[in-house]
Structures are given as C-alpha cells and as structure tokens.
Symmetry: C2
Subunit: 556 residues, 2 copies
Amino acid sequence: MRIAIAQVNLHVGNFAHNYRCIISSLENARSKGADLVVFPELSVCGYPPGDMLLSGSFIDRCLSLVGDIAQHCRGIAAIVGSPSRNSGRGGKSLFNSAFLLEEGRISQVYHKGLLPTYDVFNEYRYFEPAVQFSPVRFRGHTISLTICEDIWNIGANGLYPFSPPDIINKFNPELMINISASPFAWNHLPGRMMVLSENAKRFGVPLFSCNLAGGQTDLLFDGTSAVFNPNGKIIGSLKSFEEDIQVFDTSEINNSSSFLEMPGEPGEEVKHRLIMDALVMGVRDYFKKSGLKKAVIGLSGGIDSAVCLVIAALALGRENVWAILMPGPYSSDHSVEDAAALANKLGVAYEIIPVSDTVNSFGESLGPYFENTEPGIAEENIQARVRAVFLMALSNKFGHVLLNTSNKSEAAVGYTTLYGDMCGALSVLGDVYKTDVYGLARLINNEDEIIPRNTIQKPPSAELRPGQKDSDSLPDYGQLDAILFSFLEKQMDAEEIVKAGHDRNLVNRVIGMVSNSEHKRRQSPPILRVSQKCLGVGRMMPLEADYRSFLDNGKS
Amino acid sequence: MRIAIAQVNLHVGNFAHNYRCIISSLENARSKGADLVVFPELSVCGYPPGDMLLSGSFIDRCLSLVGDIAQHCRGIAAIVGSPSRNSGRGGKSLFNSAFLLEEGRISQVYHKGLLPTYDVFNEYRYFEPAVQFSPVRFRGHTISLTICEDIWNIGANGLYPFSPPDIINKFNPELMINISASPFAWNHLPGRMMVLSENAKRFGVPLFSCNLAGGQTDLLFDGTSAVFNPNGKIIGSLKSFEEDIQVFDTSEINNSSSFLEMPGEPGEEVKHRLIMDALVMGVRDYFKKSGLKKAVIGLSGGIDSAVCLVIAALALGRENVWAILMPGPYSSDHSVEDAAALANKLGVAYEIIPVSDTVNSFGESLGPYFENTEPGIAEENIQARVRAVFLMALSNKFGHVLLNTSNKSEAAVGYTTLYGDMCGALSVLGDVYKTDVYGLARLINNEDEIIPRNTIQKPPSAELRPGQKDSDSLPDYGQLDAILFSFLEKQMDAEEIVKAGHDRNLVNRVIGMVSNSEHKRRQSPPILRVSQKCLGVGRMMPLEADYRSFLDNGKS
C-alpha cells in the first residue's frame, strides 16, 4: 500500500482555498501512485477554527466539503479532518473527526477521544470526547487511525484516564496513522518525535504522521510530518515550515535500513535558526491569509526593530516593507544613522519624520496641568504614543499593516507603552526574549553585516529621556531572561527559582513586574508563538487579581 | 437545622481578604444561630482564578486557607469552595471541590462533575471532572451537595452524558445545596431560577443555592442566591449586586406559605435597571480590587460618555471622577456645552483641552506624504488618537484610570478607532447596545434632567469631519441592534436572520462588518459583561479567518 502524506497549509474558514489545496494534493498523490492520501487534523476548515465552530452553517460547509472531496476519491482514498455532528443523546454537539473517503463516498469516520484543553488548546469548548474506538479498514488493511492528542497520553500519569490507541490495538492494526495540528515551539520537536516513536515501538507497527504546515495568526505549525518503522526509527520526514507531500510504500518500511536521527534539544544556533524560519513563515502567512501585502515598521535604530525589519523583508519582499524613522527629543544621532544604514542595506524604502514638534504640542496643551510635577512616565509615554499615531496614520492612509516590534522580555515586565510601542496588528518578536533577539541578529549577520554593528553593540535604550538606558529600569537581560524563562516556560514557583540560584529580591521584583503588567498585555496584538509559553495565545491570567501568593516569602 | 447562605464578594488571589470575609461571615452566621454556613464556588481563591490555578504555590495557599477556616468551625460548620489536588492516576491534576468543615477539620470533600467549558467558562482547562458522587452527611442529615453546573444538565438532550444529582439522589438526600459562581446577564435570572426550581421539584427536597456576588474585572456576579421548597417555590432570596447573608431553618421550609414570584423575562425598564446596577457594581469592584480610586473619562457631549460618567460617579463618588472635554476641529459648540452641563450637574470636576493645534501638528508633519490624497479615515483617526494620548497622559501623570466609553453596537461593527476611542483600562458600555444606552439615559433622567436633553436628542456623531453623522456609515441603530442581537446573542445564521424579516443585503453587510473588525476587538479593554454574548470575555473568534461562510448566499 502506498500512503501519501499531504502536509498542506490550510486557511481557517476559507473553504474554497482548502478545497483547491486538498484536491490538487490528491491529484498530485494519484500521479505518484498513492493508494491513500492523508491530510492534517480539521483539514476542511483549518485549525484552530475557534468559535466559528458554533455556527451551524459553518459546520454545514465543512460537511459539504467532505462530500465534495469524496467525489474525487475514486481509485484513490483520502483521510481528511472535519468537525462532525454528535447525533447521540447528551454531550457537546460536535466531534473532532477523521473521515476515510473512498469510491466517491464517506466509508468510515473516527472521532477524537482526547481533547487538549490547556495552553493554546480549547477543544473541549466545542467537541464531545469519543469513548469508543475501533480501527478503520481499508482494502483489507486494519489501520489504527487517531487524531493528534489521542496518542499523547503515554507515561505513568497521563492527562487523561485512558488511551485510544491502547483500545484500538485490541483489533491488531497493521499500522498507525495520526493526523495533527501540533503547533511549533522552538523546543517542541524532540518531544513530539519521541511520542510518535514511542507509539510505533509500543504497538510494533509503522506509524505515519501528518501535521499541519503554515501560520494561522499567532499559532505557527511547522509540519515536519514523519514516518516511523515498528522499532520507532524515523524512516522519512517532511519539510519544516512549508508544504510538502511524500509517498511511502508500507512494504518497504520494514526493510528500510537508513534512518534519520531523532532530533535532540536544540543548541543556541539551531534554536535561533528555527525561530527565524518560524517567524518568517508566520509573517508571510499572516499577510497572505489577511489578503494584504504591505507592512510598515517604526525603525528606531535599536535591535528589536532592526531584526523585525529583516524578518518582514524576508517574509514579504523588501519592496513591500516601509520603514519609518521618527527621531524624538532624546534620540541620539546614531539612531537615525543606524536605522537608515539598515534600510539602505536591505533596499527597504524609508522616511524620516521628526516627532519633537508634535510632542511639544502635547506638552504645551498639558502645561497648565503638568506644571510643578517632575517629568516621568507620562512625558515618556507621550513620545511613544506620538510615534504610534504617526505609524497608524500612514497605515490607515496607505493600507500598510503596522508590525509591532516589542520583544518578550520587555512585554513580560511591562517595560512598554500601551497604545505606544505596543501598537500593531501583529507582534513579530513578542515571544522572543531580548537575549534571543541578539541571537537572531547574529544569525542575520552571519555572513555579512546586514544589521549595523552599532545597533547590536550599543546598550539598549528607549531614548525617552536624556541618557536613558534599559538597565536603569531593568535587571541585566541575561538574568532577567533566565528568571522569566523559569517562571513562564518552566512554571517554577518563586521559591524554586530562588533555590535554583537567583537572588530572592530580584526574583520577587521580576515576578511582581510580570504580574503587575497583565493589564497591558491583555490589549497587546496577537503574538507569533515560538515558545512553549507565549504571553499571548495560551495565557489566561486574571486581571485585578492579587498576585502576592506568587512571590517567595523567604520561609523556605 | 439552620443554614446560613453567605453570599460574599471575593477577590481572585487575595487570600487575606477572602479569609477575613469568610471568617467574619462565619461569626455573623454563628451569632444568628446557624448550624452550617454555605459559601460560593471556589470561595477561598475567588472566581475565575484562570491560569493562577497552574501554580503549585497558589494551590498550596488555597488548601492552607481551607485548613485555617476549618479551625474556626467549632460548633458551627461551613461549606467552602476550593481547588483540590487529584491524587488518582491519570487525568488533570486538580478538582473543583467543595469542602465540608466541622469540628476544626475537613470532614468531607465533594468534587464537581460537570465542568462548563463554553462562553466565559474554561473549567476543563484546569480540572478533572469527577465521575463518582455521593452525598455529604452532616449531623445525621444526608445532603446532596453540588457545585454550580452539576445541576444544570436537565432536559432531553443535555450538554453532558450524565447528571450528578441523579446519582446522588439514590442515597435519598433530605435537601440540596448548590454553591455557584454564576455570572450575570440581564436576561439570565429566569433561566437560573428555573433550573434551581426544577431541581427542587424533581427530587422533592428543599434546595439552597449560594451564588457569588461582585465583579471580577469583566465578569459580574449578581448573587441573588435563593432557597426553594420541595415544590420548587422560592421561599427566600438574597440581594442582587451586593453581599448578603441570611439564615433559613430547614424545618420551616415545608410549612412556609409565602412564596416569592419566579422572575419573568425582563421588560425594557427592568432590563435597564439591571444593567445599570450591574455596571455600577462592576466599575466599583474593578477599582476596589485594583486598589485604585480615581477615574478619568473623555466627555464628548455624546450620549455614551455621558452615561458612562454617571455610572462612574455612582460607582466611585463624584469626587473621584475627572471629565476631560477635548473639542477638535469638527466639534460643534453644543458638544462642549452639553458636556460641561452634565459635569456641573453631577458635580464632577472637568477640564477643557482643545486638540486642534496638536491635530494640526500631525497634519503638518504628514503633509508631504498625504498631499494629493482625499481626507478620510486616516485624518479622522488622528483626532481620536490625539484625544487618547491626552487622556493617557493625564492618567499616567495623576494615576486616574481611563474608562472606555464605547458601546457594543459600534464595537461590534468596528465603528471605532483602535488606540483612539478604544483606549481605556475597562470598557463600561462595551456590552450595551446603543439603543440600550438610550434606555440607560432615560433611566438616569427618570426624575430629573441629569443628562442634558440635547445629548439625548441630537443625532449621534463622532464629529471627526464636517457634518458627520453615525447614520452616514451605519444603518439605523434600531435595525443594527436587532440584527446584532440575532447574530451574536441568538447565534442565528444569516439565512435565519433574513427569514426573520431583515433585508438580506443589510444582514450581509452587518455580519461582514462584525467579521472584519475582529482584529480591533482583540485589542480592546476588558468589557463589563451584562449580556449572554459579550464581545470580550467568552468570545474566541479566530483572526485572519475567511468569514464568507457566515453570509447568506441567497440560496434559501
């Protein structure tokens, strides 16, 4: 049996696109002699459809598309993902299903049993978990077909009380197929590959995975679908961060003697390459799926906006990116020079719009109210907000989408101006710590000095008051990022972080800053997610809560 | 047996407050001769705790507080809600639990079986659903103790495959106690009371409900706890929108011959009174729980900001509210006059800060780029954003919290300026349709002309270009709101709305506007929720999705 894995890039709610994409992959697979083509989870509607699933006409369209695709399945079969209706008594009204299509019709349907409802996933919001499982039969073969999370409940103390593949295994399936929409994080692949490999080994059969590729707003799907032999070795894998289709002959899998290595924990260089590829895909797909082409970016001369501009130029083409330099009262000369040098190097058009006159105009109107007060946050924020008004005016006038250039470190501690540098339709670097932004800059400059050395070497500054440096307000970024990573990604409590060697006062200060800035992040643009704990999608922290229990009380 | 219902106002994560509140209610109940005091769902940590539940030290604090409260339970018992750890193999690591505390210790624990995961609820994100249920025993009594959703799975085709009270009923309980955190919506109470009444009738025992009171950011809890006799009649009910404690003697419930009427679907007047009370509570608790006192509001002379100012003055005291009048190039004279008249009438301090000079300053800097273009959205948005920068500058300088004054109709169709009139820490009217804002104004002016008649009578206008009126861009608000209500709250498809008598083109236009402005609302402030479908909390629509399947294709 020849199985094609069609790792496609689908668009939520865009049935016309998804239909074309699925049919052309089907015909491509047919031309390669495939018997069966496998598509990702919820392929007909895209992932994640969110509350669109609550619309009856949306579900009708999904099911109608499944029928349309089935019409093309003659001589070749397909497995596609779609929501389906729960016709039983009781429970949610939908299942998350996989349809086996053959000979012009739906021949079998499988319903997902384990519904991830944590971090970025909300599947139990929409779907009823299936509790009965059996394999699908195709041309005399018995196949253990499952959907994503269904095969993840392994180990001593799983998140769910049972495991669908264990139940299906009683029917002695010959092979496993898992369709998924498993999102990217820079350190996620080793775990994902391990789970797939463990399943192949545990049941002693080949396993075919088909994972979604492409970006859907903030969620990025890397693809990297793979095929495993019964010993859990990787026989083949599909591309990362793009569409791919490959055909595998089941009879050759047991005989194959060449294996791919299991991916290990990424080192710094691999990490930054992965993040870079993911962000470029994310920006590109955001624009493509919005039907938009052009971006505008505020270019400060600092490292964040520099890296952001490079990513935008790679994703959209340099001709579609517009850089706006907005020197203010406390901008240093080198800021404009560095920014212009980068734009010139990239061949990106740029404008210089000084903002001091407008900032002063606010100052004059506010004079009667601000007199006898010390200049502070209010005055600094005016500058950041004036820049935002300029950027949004250009965006509104010419239809360019404003990209946000904030990084994760400053977003985490609230070292940002709401309605100022927090503006934008999409945050490109909001899930990238400052230390990793430097890593991206090194990667960009690997062969040639694209980003001016001065941008990389100068001490980070918001330039909102004379001589200001980030280090006036924040700990050293190395320390800050280490504490943030422990608190956010590793979910360590303050006490554990202190025990791991960080200063107690600093840990409490950082956690306090994170907790006190939730209200700002609630209004942030969507953030391209590249880590296992993004500050946007997948974080549901309450506001106006009392966060003191998060601090280390020193009682340890 | 004398049962006290302690309908308290708790604060998420504020263990010190919650402890004080619970202990003082306990002592109050003791002084009234109660045997048992009942507190709301998740009382020790407040509701909804969100991702705070993922912190181990947070759970430790919850359980430690349960133990501390138990110490006070001597001679009197209490039922409190708290997360607890799932010590079994498999499943999520927490339960949503109710603890019976007596004689200084935890005597019994009940785990919630039905975990609402829809609209504003995300409980399966954190909790494992219990599958085994039994009653609690207290001083020889058998009590069917359940948590909120547990008693809601009634009717022919429930959301869950089983019902905990059915299972508990096999033990012949003498009475039911249901602790809850059931949020307010203006038309929710009849349904909630019906469910409680049906449960009492179905099992033929008295039912005591204890519901949370108070606002937690956007979610508002009205309390309105109640007691039902075995025939499902309301024997007594607690206050709405505030704390209350009442003691009921179980032996008197069967004999009581005076009943309260079941609430019916609210008429327009009741609706607006309910919304008003809820919003005042929401604003007051937002500030109290933030540890803040003072608000600033941009007062335009229009009806939205006028109603908002009255609500803020009621919630915070007129001395804690500051109104900023910012006439711009296209403001009419009456706008400033109407706004000043309202501020004077309320005794609220106000300032007049003209914005035209600053708007012109932007215009000058943008001149080279904007020349030969038609004035449009870009120019209009600059005015809205300049006002936002002024308001935020005053907020940052003096610590007043900016309240957002947008209404639901304009937010729904995107007739708003992101980073302009969409700014603010909290949206007061974001879940109130424009036609209901008029209803609130009528209520406010019921006895005296608080809001100037001109503000109410003039045609709505954003005053961002000469002679502009809302009706240039939007359908009549009566029609618009009717279509929005059908689409959002009643989840009707376009075809159904057309069939209900609305013009097909208009329906498609409105749904298109709603769908095309999701990206704006994603960055909106939290919105006080007063309806069954708020555009903030409880809505999880994808961005960059293709919404065409929502439109009516005319095929019907």
